[in-house]
Symmetry: C2
């Protein structure tokens, strides 16, 4: 290799190889989570990685339009997009090929999505996703189900002790709408809420009064769900905001009923980052500093069907999940047969030439008198 | 929806949704085959779907260059390709990130590949692939291993009774080279061999004589491996072709030693369709008319490392594999808990609202006195 050739190890920024043993761990995690989805009646669909831009970016797909790679289809001469999110594709399937199926539809998916640019916090441009969508059901119990199925999927791969963060992305817009807030103030208020600047929020709320007066107390109540719900209950809210608060209370009661021990926080005034959600929105955090493991919530699917769903991030789950003991590797000498040991959970690694030694083949075990015995570390 | 909008169900030609239950079946097949690979010591890697064109199309990647979608990376301003084959990416990983690992390396992968155009026989432009690569081993036993691991993977998903078709894509070129055949005749001979036109091949062989005289007998011997090997053994071959024949005999002996009952055919004069293979090449056919399930064989990996591998086609395997009984679906009334039944293998489908009936939720079973009982078909 000469210096003027590009280094073949160099991949585009944000695109990476997953190597052993992580690639196998990630695949195993995904299938274990999908098994939980299937056990709750979610049926798997597999939309293609590429489809026409106009169907890919319809509905909730608009939220990722600027993050979507486009390319020309030489067959149809039309623009195609490489999916940046799977939810819009599942919405398309529900509205077209499964239009005649009874509701609610429970669908699940696992696959890769690609993004034009990474962010500083999330530099990856290829991300695995595994998720559930419940389409055609408006009940608070549906939101509770998708949140808890995600929690159970995480528990199935060893990530217990998660916390569920609930936000109501339509509440603040409903308050501003009811208060008739003009655009410049709307932006100032949005910024203050986004920065969690309580002094600024309080000063705006006191100056404007009316329905905005509720904001400082709601902001202060952010935290454990019970306290935040009590603050919502006590606040003076216009009818649209009251309906949102009551729906949140119903969803949280349904979750509590099924998972009394789950740690739940509620941030009533957070509204950024959920661009197409129309009701409660969820984020699942792993224990410690392991970060966001899943996101979801209520939205409108195609043809304005009520829908709710959760998308899990297997790359983040991989970092949060415990590492299983590596598979033991049994050296099988030239001409010997390892079938019996594969049935016991060994990877059998066959010598194919005289130079293939247990050390070269990174084996942990070798055959002695027909038994698999560990190889001493010093050899 | 108005008539002047494109039909959102319309996907680009060759791109399709996999729906329930096929999407789950395909995923289960892939993971079952990957488990066989892992049990033989093949470690999973997951290269990205996109990488720089120049590394993606290096080596064996050149064979799929014209089938590779390209797009501009806005970050690096360099061209990227959407992979049309996974083998070149595994070769890159072996030559770069795993360059220091002892040989042979056993790696496996599963994922999607995309093609610019489908063919009449294979219209799909997105294809799943799952395969093994054994890099850095030149022994005939390595070729035998990859072929038999693929056979075992197919058996693991219920596709038994496969047949292994062996070809020697370098044999005819070696004979033509040794005979000093001029380009026009080379093309005529290639065409005649490709059409299996024995009259034409015989007439050329008789006219030219020399090393080409062996061709009619080799062509006639195509069929069960033993007969074809005997014809190769009996033929008068120049040294390069003799070495190819002897290697084939060694590989087939190694396969026979491990799988005496496997049906093997050998076509010594077939040489099309394997564009980067340097030794024996394999095609696995399913029983009946189920077609090609896998392809592979010996090639040179990056830095001219000897390598061999097999790529299985999960979409074809899905058509050939037996269909398992569908998962029973148990209706769980509002407020009841299905956990016990999920542990027994049921999909539990929860009612979320009063209108959710067993019929609407397509359930096969309902709870009666705490037991899951089948729902009578007429209801």
């Amino acid at each position: 290799m000469t210096d003027d050739l590009p280094n073949p190890a160099l991949l585009p920024a944000g695109l990476a190889d997953l190597l052993p043993p992580e690639a196998e761990r990630e695949a195993a995690l995904v299938e274990a989570m999908m098994a939980v989805f299937a056990a709750h009646g979610y049926e798997r669909v597999k939309p293609p990685l590429l489809e026409f831009e106009d169907s890919l970016l319809a509905g909730s797909g608009a939220a990722v339009a600027e993050q979507t790679f486009r390319l020309m289809d030489p067959v149809s001469q039309r623009m195609m997009g490489l999916r940046a999110d799977t939810t819009p594709q599942v919405a398309r399937i529900a509205a077209t090929r499964l239009a005649q199926d009874q509701r609610p539809l429970r669908l699940c998916y696992a696959g890769q999505v690609l993004r034009v640019r990474g962010t500083q916090l999330a530099p990856s441009r290829q991300l695995p996703q595994a998720g559930v969508e419940l389409i055609g059901g408006a009940a608070p119990a549906a939101d509770a189900e998708v949140a808890l199925v995600a929690v159970e999927a995480l528990a199935a791969v060893g990530v217990a002790d998660v916390s569920l963060d609930v936000t109501l992305p339509t509440l603040v817009p409903a308050l501003m709408e009811a208060a008739g807030v003009a655009p410049p103030l709307r932006q100032a208020l949005a910024r203050a809420l986004d920065r969690k600047d309580s002094a600024d929020v309080t000063s705006i709320a006191q100056r404007e009064g009316g329905v905005l007066a509720a904001l400082p107390a709601l902001m202060a109540a952010t935290g454990p769900a019970d306290g935040a719900l009590a603050a919502l209950e006590a606040a003076e809210l216009p009818p649209t905001a009251r309906a949102i608060a009551e729906n949140a209370a119903s969803v949280l009661a349904a979750i509590r009923g099924l998972a009394p021990a789950l740690r739940i926080t509620l941030d009533p005034v957070e509204f950024r980052g959920f661009r197409y959600h129309t009701g409660v929105a969820f984020t699942l955090y792993g224990p410690g500093m392991s970060g966001e493991l899943a996101r979801g919530g209520r939205y409108l699917s195609q043809n304005d069907e009520p829908a709710t769903g959760m998308s899990l991030y297997p790359d983040a789950v991989l970092r949060a999940a415990p590492v299983a003991a590596p598979r033991p590797r049994l050296f099988v000498p030239l001409g010997a047969d390892g079938a019996r040991f594969r049935a016991q959970g060994f990877a059998t690694v066959a010598a194919l030439a005289p130079e293939d030694t247990p050390l070269r083949l990174r084996c942990t075990h070798e055959l002695k008198d027909g038994a698999a015995v560990p190889i001493a570390a010093k050899d």
